[in-house]
C-alpha cells in the first residue's frame, strides 16, 4: 500500500513502477506457481481468441460452408468423429472448436469493454463524489447503496430487458452487443466509485494536494494530474477481479437467452445452444465451451487475487 499512499507526482510514476516490478510484484509472481499457470492459461486463451481468424479450422459465420449433414458430429477421437471437426460440430453443423475461438473473442470483447466503461464511469463519479462532497456526494453514494443491495446480475438483466423492450426488434441483433456492454458496465460501476471516493477523501487532505491548491493549480488539473495517479492502484485490482465477473455476467445473460444471439454466439450462447442437446447425449456442444469459459474466468480470478495480495501485503 505504501506504493499507493506515497505522495507525489506523475514524474515519480515510472520510477515507482520500476521499483515495484523489480521487487515485490515480480517476486510474488514468480513465487506463486498457481499464478504463473493462471497467467499462462489466460495468455493462451486470449491469444488464441485474438488469432481466431488465423487458427480456426472453419469460419463459423460463413453460412454457406455449413452442412446439416455434418450436424452434431462427436469429437474426433470418438466413434463417428472426424478430424476436420476436432471437437465435433453443433446442431447446425458448425465446427465447435471454431465457434469456441470466435465465441471467446466476443466474450472477451464484451467483458473488457464493459469493465473499461464501468471503470471510467465509476472512477469519474468516485472522484467527483470524493472531491466535491456535499449533496453531489450524497446523491451518488445513495444511488450506489441502493444498487449495491441488489445482485449485479439482476441489475444487468433489468437494464438488458428494458433496452430490449425499447428498441425496435429488427435492430436488436446488431446492437445487442452494445446493450450488453452497457448493462454490465452499469451494474458494476459502484465498486470503482466507492473505492475511488474513499481514497480521494483521504488524499484530498494531504499536504501535496493542499500545496497544489495553495499555489493555484486548477481543480481539474489537481484531480487528474495529482490525485488520480495516487488513487488508481486499487482501481486496477478491482478492474482485474471485475473482468472475471463481467465475462461471467455476459455468459450468464447469453445463457439465459437475453445476451448475444445464436448467429453471433459468445461462449454463453454456445452453452445455451448445446444445453438443448445435452439430454440426447450430445454433450460436447455445451461442455467444451463450458471448459474454456471456466478456465478463462478461473485464471483471471487467480490473477486478480494475486494482484490484490501483492498490493495489500497485510492479507498475505
Amino acid at each position: 500500500m505504501a506504493e499507493i499512499t506515497a505522495p507525489p507526482s506523475i514524474a515519480a510514476l515510472p520510477g515507482r513502477l520500476r521499483r515495484f516490478a523489480e521487487s515485490d510484484l515480480l517476486y510474488s509472481f514468480r513465487r506463486s506457481p498457481v499464478t504463473v499457470v493462471a497467467a499462462a492459461v489466460a495468455f493462451i486463451v486470449v491469444a488464441s481468441a485474438l488469432l481466431a481468424p488465423l487458427i480456426a479450422p472453419h469460419d463459423p459465420y460463413d453460412l454457406a460452408s455449413l452442412s446439416l449433414l455434418d450436424a452434431t458430429d462427436p469429437p474426433a477421437w470418438l466413434a463417428d468423429g472426424n478430424w476436420s471437426y476436432p471437437l465435433g460440430t453443433d446442431n447446425q453443423g458448425r465446427d465447435v472448436l471454431s465457434t469456441i475461438l470466435y465465441g471467446t473473442r466476443l466474450s472477451l470483447a464484451v467483458g473488457v469493454s464493459a469493465v473499461i466503461l464501468s471503470m471510467l464511469l465509476g472512477v469519474t463519479l468516485g472522484l467527483i463524489a470524493g472531491w466535491r462532497g456535499g449533496w453531489i456526494d450524497t446523491v451518488i453514494m445513495r444511488v450506489a447503496d441502493v444498487q449495491l443491495s441488489f445482485p449485479a446480475i439482476l441489475i444487468a438483466l433489468l437494464i438488458d430487458g428494458v433496452a430490449r423492450t425499447m428498441l425496435p426488434r429488427d435492430a436488436q441483433n446488431e446492437i445487442t452487443i452494445y446493450v450488453l456492454i452497457l448493462a454490465i458496465a452499469l451494474s458494476y460501476w459502484v465498486h470503482f466509485a466507492r473505492t475511488v471516493r474513499g481514497s480521494t477523501m483521504v488524499e484530498r487532505n494531504k499536504e501535496y494536494i493542499q500545496a497544489a491548491r495553495v499555489i493555484g493549480v486548477r481543480p481539474a488539473r489537481i484531480v487528474v494530474g495529482h490525485l488520480l495517479p495516487n488513487v488508481i492502484g486499487p482501481v486496477l485490482v478491482i478492474g482485474t477481479i471485475n473482468l472475471a465477473t463481467a465475462i461471467l455476467t455476459e455468459a450468464t445473460l447469453s445463457f439465459l437467452g437475453v445476451g448475444l444471439p445464436p448467429t453471433q454466439p459468445s461462449l454463453g450462447t454456445l452453452i445455451r445452444v448445446g444445453n438443448d442437446y445435452l439430454l440426447s447425449g450430445d454433450w460436447w456442444i455445451s461442455i467444451f465451451p463450458g471448459i474454456v469459459l471456466a478456465l478463462l474466468i478461473l485464471s483471471v480470478n487467480l490473477l486478480g487475487d494475486w494482484l490484490r495480495d501483492a498490493f495489500n501485503p497485510k492479507l498475505r
Binding site: L158, G161, M166, F255, L256, I271, I287, A294, L298
Partner: protein, 327 residues
C-alpha cells in the same frame, strides 16, 4: 432501541419507494398499460377514453401514488403475454422459488460456515488448502455450468435424478409444496445444490477471512495470554466475534439466492418466479418485470431489516448506551 428500529424502518420504506419508482417508470413509460388491456382493433378514441378512466392522464404524483396503492394490494395489472393478473401468476410461482431458495440457503449455511471456521483455524493444513482451491473453482464456475454438469452426470449418464421440473407437488391452500412427495424431494436435489454451491463457497471464504482477521486482534491474543483453552479461544471468543459481521453479509447473500434462482430455474426449468422473469424479459412483458422487481426488492429490504435487528441483538456495543465513567 425504538429509535433505531424506526430509523431502519424509514430507510427500508425509502428503498422500497425507490424500487417502486423504477418499477412505475418501467410500467408507465416503457410499457404501454393500455396495450395490456385492449385488443388490436380498439379505436384511438376508445383508447383515449380508457386512458382517462384509468387516470393515465393524471399528474405524475397521483399516478405514482395509485401505483404504490395498487402494488401494496398485489395488483400489478395484466401480463401482456398471458393476459392474466400478474398478482395471480406470481402467487402461483412463488412457492417453487421460495422452497428452492430455502433449501439452497440451508445447504449453503450448513456446509459453508463450518468449512469457513475450519479453514480459518487451520490455515496451513492440507485439507484447508484443498478446500480453498476447490472453492476458487466453485466461484469461477458459472452457476449454469455447474447445473449443466450435474444434469449430465446425475440425470443423463447415471439416470438417478430428474433433470427438470419440480416433481409432483401437494396443494396446501394457495401454496404448493414439493416437500411432501418423494418425487418432489428428488427433483429439488440438483437445483438446490446448484444454487447453493456458489453461496456456499462465498460464505466459506467470508467466514474464513473474518476468522483470520479476528484471530489477529488483541483481545484474542490477550485471551490466549490469559491461558484460556484453545477451545474457549477459538469457539467462545473468535467464532462469536466472527459471526457478527458475517451475519450481515450472509444475510444479504442469502437474499441474493432469490435473485440467482433466475439462472438455476432456467437450467432446470424450475417453475418459479425466476423462470417467469426470464420469460417476461424475453417477451418484453413489462407488468411482470415490474412486479418481480418490486417483489424481489421487498424480499431484500425485509432480509436487510431482519439482519440489522439481529445485529442489534448480538452486539452489545449497539444495544447498551455508552456510559463512560471517568478515569
Amino acid at each position: 432501541m425504538l429509535a433505531f428500529v424506526i430509523q431502519r424502518l424509514l430507510q427500508s420504506v425509502l428503498v422500497m419507494l425507490t424500487v417502486a419508482l423504477i418499477a412505475f417508470a418501467l410500467f408507465n413509460y416503457v410499457g404501454d398499460p393500455i396495450n395490456s388491456m385492449v385488443g388490436q382493433d380498439t379505436t384511438l378514441a376508445d383508447r383515449e377514453r380508457l386512458r382517462q378512466e384509468l387516470g393515465l392522464n393524471d399528474n405524475f404524483v397521483v399516478q405514482f401514488a395509485r401505483f404504490v396503492g395498487h402494488a401494496t394490494e398485489g395488483n400489478f395489472g395484466l401480463s401482456y403475454q398471458q393476459a392474466r393478473p400478474v398478482g395471480t401468476i406470481i402467487l402461483e410461482k412463488m412457492p417453487a422459488t421460495l422452497e428452492l431458495s430455502f433449501m439452497a440457503a440451508f445447504l449453503a449455511l450448513l456446509f459453508g460456515v463450518p468449512m469457513g471456521i475450519y479453514t480459518g483455524l487451520n490455515r496451513s493444513s492440507w485439507t484447508s488448502q484443498a478446500l480453498l482451491a476447490i472453492s476458487l473453482v466453485g466461484v469461477s464456475l458459472p452457476t449454469f455450468l455447474i447445473g449443466i454438469l450435474l444434469i449430465l452426470i446425475f440425470a443423463v449418464v447415471l439416470g438417478w435424478l430428474p433433470s427438470f421440473g419440480r416433481g409432483s407437488v401437494v396443494h396446501i391452500g394457495w401454496w404448493t409444496t414439493g416437500f411432501l412427495t418423494v418425487d418432489g424431494w428428488r427433483a429439488i436435489i440438483l437445483p438446490s445444490i446448484t444454487l447453493a454451491l456458489f453461496q456456499m463457497t462465498l460464505i466459506m471464504r467470508l467466514v474464513r477471512a473474518e476468522m483470520i482477521e479476528v484471530l489477529r486482534t488483541d483481545y484474542i491474543k490477550f485471551a490466549r495470554a490469559r491461558g484460556l483453552t484453545s477451545r474457549a479461544v477459538n469457539f467462545g471468543h473468535a467464532l462469536k466475534n466472527t459471526l457478527v459481521p458475517v451475519m450481515t453479509i450472509t444475510g444479504v447473500q442469502l437474499g441474493s439466492i432469490i435473485a440467482f434462482a433466475v439462472i438455476t430455474e432456467t437450467v432446470f426449468q424450475w417453475p418459479g418466479m425466476g423462470l417467469m422473469f426470464i420469460q417476461a424479459v424475453t417477451f418484453a412483458d413489462i407488468p411482470v418485470m415490474a412486479a418481480y422487481l418490486v417483489l424481489v426488492g421487498f424480499f431484500f429490504v425485509v432480509i436487510n431489516l431482519v439482519v440489522d435487528l439481529l445485529y442489534y441483538v448480538v452486539d452489545p456495543r449497539l444495544r447498551v448506551e455508552r456510559e463512560v465513567a471517568g478515569g
